[in-house]
Amino acid sequence: MSKNRRKNGNSIEISTFAKWGVIFTVIAVIGVSYVSMKNRLHQYGEQRRTLERELTVLRETNRAMASQIVILCSRDALQQKLDSGFIQMIPIPDDRIVRLEMNPQRSPSAELQAVSNQMGF
């Protein structure tokens, strides 16, 4: 009896279930990973775009400032400040300039010598 019972019973094919289970799981994981990575790629792209935009704004602001500096430091701007009295310059008269010149003819003994201030030398 027990023999017949065994004959009529359906065996569960664990290995088949396991095989398909693994296949579905792998496919599912691959699919989810693909979507996840794709989304992450889009996020990175978005971050990159945002950073690029920030960088561009910073660069352009920097250039705008640089061009403002150029304008404010121009001779034209300085002349206007001078004319309006914002800055004042007093020229140095010729008789108040002292010109120091090296003597071009020096004797060999007057040449500069290397010196050392270290003790013992």
Binding site: G45, R48, T61, R63, V70, I87, M89, V98
Partner: protein, 575 residues
């Protein structure tokens, strides 16, 4: 049922296979776009690196109407921030144009303000192209030489005058591009970025101009315009040894920041475009040529006919009657008859060759757009009296740049240099890409012949000469005055209208620069319209300031015996 199914199937196959290209292109047009990455135009600098032309960042505001969701709100916000044509923009958006340029050259801060306002309302469809606007920080100073930009047929800025045009290719650079894809909301899909090419920014152009000297020249020219009220005036300073232009200015002038406001008259760079008879300044040519041909020495005596010389049936006069003058004194006293006799002795053909060798009758090769060659007729077109008129600077048309270039031959020991205004081409980091070395064109006179003319030109500025007002304290100067009647367009000369010139160099020995000062028909010449009375003092005023600027040591010492060093401190205060 089968027929309907077949029809749908046929249509599907037709769309997918036959019309594939058409629909793919249409889809790409909607989502894929070639984005131009603009190259920055190079800057223009003076010889010491001072910025003369630069770029200010601005934005061009554009709309892709296919991405606009609330047109009326968008137009309202845009019109509140920008100066736009509202009905036109509304119509363009309604027509769903993919590229509508709303406004060019919007200030960076205004654009940021607009961007924030649109973000707050979550409005889409507005895009910003970064661009630049050309600025000339010194306004009208050196305006003629720098030139300006204008839009061409391809909607690109190109140089139309001056250095901007002359060096446009080097300044412009090359635009880059990027192929981008957008989603349905118009946002770029960064991961689908395609072809990318970086832009190459334009090179910087370094000029030979020294702005310290340029400012001196411009301010003295303004003062002269106010004092003498001429029709126009020009000044050029050139380094004789190299041909480098140190300063160049003419009046009237214009501000290249606002070229549309300039009158036609003010656009003319008279330093290279003005055609004038040089008058007596031209006498250095026949005198130098006669020395070079060994026809005369400085001591050779020439009979000056007591002020009236009959030649070719016409009379030639001197402004004062002279008997016999040495060749040296012919130049010092500026005798028309003496120089005419030197040219006659030389002969038409030889004299013509020397005029050409001095650089007259052709462009100098400076390179600035618009330069003219002047007028010098070939010998076979000369009249019977041309040989007596050309030596005193009549019957010949020259430009100020030609005049200073010819004088530089004397200051440079007989060598003619090519005038040069571009010093070098550099990249953004300052590395030299291409230097421009001084170029010797030819030897015009022997060193001895040039020295003999030089000696006379020094005496021209001394007591007894015609240009004592060209003296600069502490610095011996050399030069020659010129006073020429203005030719009439209908022939002959206009009564009471003169072009006054002075060409000179300073210091006379080892000159730092050669200069030409030209004043055209002053209406307020109270002392008399002569080159020695009006042009020479302008030369002297420029010289006084230029010698200080260049820190040259005066020949006559101005140093007191016991200098009070404490007083030598410059005062620069700000408040």
């Amino acid at each position: 049922m089968a027929v309907i199914f077949s029809a749908f199937s046929f249509r599907l196959v037709h769309i997918q296979l036959t019309d594939h290209e058409k629909y793919a292109t249409k889809a790409a047009e909607k989502h894929v776009r070639q984005q131009i990455i603009y190259a920055r135009r190079g800057a223009i600098l003076d010889t010491k690196g001072e910025v003369l032309a630069d770029n200010e960042p601005v934005r061009n505001i554009v709309i892709d109407a296919t991405h606009v969701t609330e047109p009326s709100v968008l137009v309202d916000i845009l019109s509140s921030k920008l100066d736009i044509n509202v009905p036109q923009l509304t119509a363009d958006i309604a027509a769903e144009k993919p590229y509508i340029r709303v406004q060019r050259n919007v200030n960076e801060l205004v654009a940021l303000d607009l961007q924030n306002a649109l973000s707050e309302r979550d409005l889409r469809g507005v895009y910003y192209e970064t661009g630049t606007k050309r600025i000339y920080p010194n306004s009208a100073m050196l305006g003629h030489t720098l030139g300006y930009l204008a839009l061409n047929d391809e909607d690109e800025y190109v140089g139309v005058e001056g250095i901007e045009r002359m060096m446009d290719e080097q300044l412009r650079g090359e635009h880059g591009h990027r192929r981008i894809e957008r989603d349905r909301t118009g946002r770029e899909l960064v991961i689908y970025r395609g072809q990318h090419k970086d832009p190459r920014d334009g090179y910087n152009i370094r000029l030979t101009i020294e702005m310290g000297l340029q400012q001196i020249v411009e301010s003295e020219l303004d003062a002269a315009m106010e004092k003498y009220q001429p029709e126009n005036a020009s000044v050029i300073l050139m380094r004789p040894r190299t041909g480098e232009i140190l300063a160049i200015a003419s009046r009237p002038h214009y501000d290249p920041n606002h070229p549309s406001e300039a009158t036609n008259d003010s656009r003319i760079n008279r330093a290279i475009m003005s055609l004038v008879e040089p008058g007596s300044t031209f006498k250095i040519v026949p005198t130098g040529a006669a020395f070079n041909e060994s026809l005369v020495t400085p001591e050779t005596m020439i009979f000056c006919e007591n002020g009236r010389f009959q030649y070719g049936g016409r009379s030639l006069k001197d402004h004062r009657p002279y008997g016999s003058l040495s060749v040296h004194n012919i130049l010092v006293k500026s005798s028309n008859i003496g120089t005419a006799k030197l040219a006659i002795q030389m002969g038409d053909q030889k004299f013509y060759e020397y005029i050409r060798r001095f650089g007259f009758g052709e462009k100098t090769g400076l390179g600035l757009p618009g330069e003219i060659a002047g007028i010098l007729h070939p010998v076979h077109r000369w009249s019977g009296i041309s040989i007596t008129r050309i030596p005193m600077g009549h019957e010949i048309g020259t430009t100020p740049i030609q005049m200073v270039n010819a004088l530089s031959v004397i200051a440079n020991g007989g060598l003619l240099m090519r005038p040069q205004i571009v010093h070098s081409i550099t990249d953004a980091s300052g590395q030299t890409i291409k230097p421009f070395a001084p170029e010797q064109m030819r030897r015009v006179l022997s060193r001895d012949a040039a020295r003999a003319v030089h000696s006379a030109l020094v005496d021209v500025t001394q007591p007894g000469g015609t240009a004592t007002r060209a003296q600069v304290p502490g610095f011996p100067s050399a030069g020659k005055t010129g006073t020429a009647q203005k030719p009439s367009p209908t022939g002959g000369y206009m009564q009471g209208k003169y072009v006054l010139t002075f060409v000179g160099y300073l210091p006379a020995e080892n000159p730092a620069y050669a200069a030409v000062v030209l004043v055209d028909n002053p209406s307020n010449a109270t002392e008399g319209a002569y080159g020695g009375l009006i042009a020479a003092p302008i030369f002297a005023e420029i010289g006084k300031r230029a010698m200080r600027y260049l820190d040259l040591r005066p020949a006559e010492s101005a140093i007191p015996d016991e200098p009070e060093i404490r007083k030598a401190i410059p005062v620069l205060s700000a408040r």
